[in-house]
């Protein structure tokens, strides 16, 4: 049998860089996140597009935690996204919750569903795991219509009150302009980015990477790999649920498409386009995918042919995705600079 292992996924390097760089890397990560969000807000054609990019970027971070750092190909991230959106939506509509409480509910429900679905999916490995997440994604997609009196079926969940930011009824800020929405979403993105950067650099993250590299050996040296994979799923569910909650808040409704398979496929494509080599790759994936889609869909009706070509090209030539290209560029430039310095010294 031709041996195809998940090792080919462009794997981030081990966590134990030399000790001296540790704090510096953290600060660089925070600065990178804040600067990128600011640049996106300025350059993006519209605030609402910038908000959409950041919402999907959060979901892609959650997906990368599983794909890049744990070696699991999750086909069901749309489930946690949709469930988070409906949870937040229902709390806005029926319980008059304000933004922070609604998002908290979205995260909580995202975690609970991730624990349930995850605990079943990680019983299988390899392609069977992928097929299981695919099955759950399709199943949840249909449940939207089976419980249409709760979810509003194909009309979507409607009747959102005006979104406002505040705690226990106090209205600190009305979220009725796209700038205010972008502000809340940007803060959430930076917070999630920092949280996940800490996590992937922690002992937990290092163990996830060990499981990605060689799950049998990780078990042999004493790690209950099933439990770690479940923890990774729950964390990914929390982050993706938050993205779903922000999606509901930003849209002012929850469309039935929020829980369909397409969302899972889109999140996956962005994760791989961006590159699973680092968390920043996930942000890149969301930005390039959505900006290009936004532009190309106005230029040519059949713009998805370009998307198809891009996907195939990435798999053949650029498995590291955009982040892989940057890393190769960096090592290439470093390589050339090195040669120039040596040649210079030679004369």
């Amino acid at each position: 049998m031709l041996e195809a292992t998940s090792k080919d996924v462009q794997a981030p390097a081990g966590a134990t860089g030399s000790d001296a760089e540790r704090p510096a890397r953290m600060r660089w990560a925070i600065v990178a996140a804040v600067v990128s969000v600011a640049a996106l807000a300025l350059l993006s054609p519209s605030y609402s597009l910038a908000s959409t990019v950041l919402i999907y970027a959060i979901a892609v971070l959650g997906c990368n935690l599983l794909l890049g750092y744990t070696g699991l190909l999750p086909f069901g991230q749309g489930v946690f996204f949709g469930v988070g959106a409906y949870a937040a939506g229902l709390s806005f509509v029926h319980l008059e919750f304000q933004v922070p409480a609604g998002l908290a509910i979205a995260m909580l429900v995202g975690m609970v569903v991730a624990a349930a679905v995850g605990s079943l999916c990680i019983l299988q490995r390899g392609v069977s795991f992928v097929m299981l997440t695919f099955a759950f994604a399709m199943m949840f997609g249909h449940l939207v219509y089976v419980f249409s009196d709760i979810t509003g079926g194909e009309n979507g969940l409607r009747g959102f009150p005006g979104m406002s930011f505040g705690f226990f009824g106090s209205r600190l800020m009305a979220l009725n302009t796209s700038q205010a929405m972008l502000g809340v979403i940007a803060v959430c993105f930076v917070a999630v980015y920092i949280l996940l950067t800490r996590v992937v650099r922690s002992r937990f993250g290092a163990t996830l990477m060990a499981i990605r590299e060689n799950e049998d050996r990780a078990a042999a040296i004493g790690y209950n790999t099933t439990l770690f994979k479940l923890m990774a799923f729950v964390l990914s569910g929390l982050v993706t649920g938050l993205a779903g909650g922000l999606y509901a808040m930003h849209l002012g409704t929850v469309p039935d498409t929020a829980l369909q398979l397409d969302i899972s496929v889109t999140i996956l494509i962005m994760t791989i386009l961006g590159g699973t080599g680092s968390l920043y790759g996930s942000f890149l994936g969301a930005v390039v995918y959505l900006l290009l889609t936004d532009y190309l869909s106005q230029v040519w009706d059949r713009w998805q042919i370009l998307l198809a070509i891009a996907l195939i090209a990435i798999v053949l030539f650029l498995r590291g995705g955009l982040w892989g290209a940057i890393e190769i560029a960096r090592s290439e430039i470093g390589h050339r600079a090195g040669r120039r310095r040596r040649r210079g010294a030679g004369q």
Binding site: L43, S46, S48, N155
Partner: protein, 425 residues
């Protein structure tokens, strides 16, 4: 060949691709800003020109609704020519976004266009998209005309900015189920096939109401999921109940497949078939004359209706596209035309003034005399009951159906439950 040299060769190739992708985005984006001549600053959409009279099309021209979306846009594209290219000495322009009928896409496009100064919107094939667009356009104080089917659009969720051209589920059932019952008393036993979602449920409730009023025996109903593709089971169910009429309440691709499988199972020779909500000429072409022969269908529009408003539209359409217009073409055309008629009558592009003019307006539309009801912004127009012609008496390829009856029936104002949400509300 060790690892590093493979990377170098890979690098050269990937640089090409990554370079293309990364540089392409700002490059394409830059020239998009140039040709739109937009003043700088984030939030400006590339395509909308503030000083033109812009009609923004939100039809999904790719994805599942690509067919109807493309037709709607083609119909809308006739409107600038219908007004000679300018109105109130401002150029009439169409800006089209492919929303793929996705709510997040559509809402984002509305916000971007409003930020760029656009006020007038057309589109929304699916009820969910139309409801979301209506709410968003109303919040930003614009005008939106749609042809989507959900009753809520001019019912519980009506908005001052939203006008609906197509007849709602109540009118469609009255003009098809009720007409057939009245015209032939032998139609006593009816079996319905219904899609298990909100729009399908509305059609079923209206049908049940008619059955109750007329003492009709509703022998059975089959509910099916939104993406079911296999209906032979439901047809078997129906045949087992031996109804007089098989009433099909799903629509679009699913209704085409249902009819096809029903005809294949030889259902036509032991019962009549009614498609309450058809997609008009395009759907009938897909079904073909043999399948359509003897089948009843309800339709919003038909190109052979002799009315001044229709002949003007059909001539213009044939001249531009060299074929007969279908329902979605007419919807796109009239939606755009209504808005500009309102602007011309109001003498200004201010949405509030345009809404005032449109409320209660009577005009010659594609289905003859049409009136816009002021209380719920529902257009009161004809809905047709048609029957499939035999191949022999078809005059040309499009002469597939014969109009049996048409009429204007609409829910009484006090029963619609509509309280117009004011602009900006």
């Amino acid at each position: 060949m060790n690892q590093s040299s493979i990377d170098r060769r890979m690098f050269l190739r990937s640089l090409g691709i990554a370079g293309a992708a990364v540089t392409a985005a700002p490059l394409l984006y830059a020239c998009a800003k140039e040709d739109a001549g937009q003043n700088p600053g984030a939030g400006q959409s590339g395509a909308v020109d503030a000083d033109a009279l812009t009609l923004v099309s939100l039809y999904g021209t790719s994805g599942l609704q690509a067919e109807l979306g493309q037709e709607g846009l083609d119909g809308l594209r006739l409107v600038p020519e219908a007004f000679g290219g300018t109105l109130l000495d401002r150029p009439v322009e169409i800006v089209a976004y492919d929303t793929q009928e996705a709510i997040d896409e559509a809402v984002r496009r509305v916000r971007e266009s409003t930020e760029a100064g656009a006020k007038f919107f057309v589109g929304g094939l699916l009820s969910s998209t139309a409801l979301a667009i209506g709410e968003e356009v109303n919040k930003s104080g614009g005008v939106f005309v749609t042809a989507a089917g959900a009753d809520e659009l001019t019912g519980s969720e009506c908005q001052e900015a939203l006008f609906r051209w197509s007849v709602a589920t109540h009118g469609a059932i009255q003009e098809t189920v009720l007409r057939m019952i009245e015209s032939d008393s032998s139609r006593k036993r009816w079996y319905t096939i219904t899609p298990d979602y909100v729009f399908g449920q509305a059609l079923l409730d209206n049908a049940k109401q008619v059955f109750a009023e007329r003492g009709i025996e509703h022998v059975g109903n089959s509910l099916h999921g939104l993406d079911a593709t296999e209906f032979s089971g439901y047809i078997n169910n129906a045949v087992a109940k031996k109804p007089d009429v098989l009433c099909i309440l799903n629509f679009g691709a699913q209704s085409t497949t249902t009819i096809q499988q029903a005809v294949a199972f030889g259902v036509k020779n032991d019962m009549e078939i009614l498609l309450a909500w058809s997609g008009g000429l395009s759907q009938f072409r897909a079904l073909g004359p043999e399948t359509l022969e003897g089948i009843y269908a309800g339709a919003q529009y038909w190109h052979t209706v002799d009315a001044p408003g229709n002949s003007e539209f059909v001539d213009m359409f044939r001249e531009k596209y060299d074929k007969n217009p279908s329902y979605s073409h007419a919807a796109g055309y009239i939606s755009g035309k209504l808005i500009l008629d309102g602007v011309r009558a109001a003498g200004s592009a201010d949405p509030a003034a345009v809404v005032q003019e449109l409320e209660g307006m009577k005009y010659d539309g594609p289905t003859g005399e049409e009136t816009i009801r002021a209380e719920d912004h529902q257009v009161i127009k004809d809905y047709y009951l048609m029957k499939g012609k035999t191949a022999s008496d078809m005059e040309d390829d499009d002469d597939l159906m014969e109009i049996l009856s048409s009429g204007q029936s609409v829910t009484a104002v006090d029963q619609t439950g509509c309280k117009l949400v004011p602009l900006g509300g």
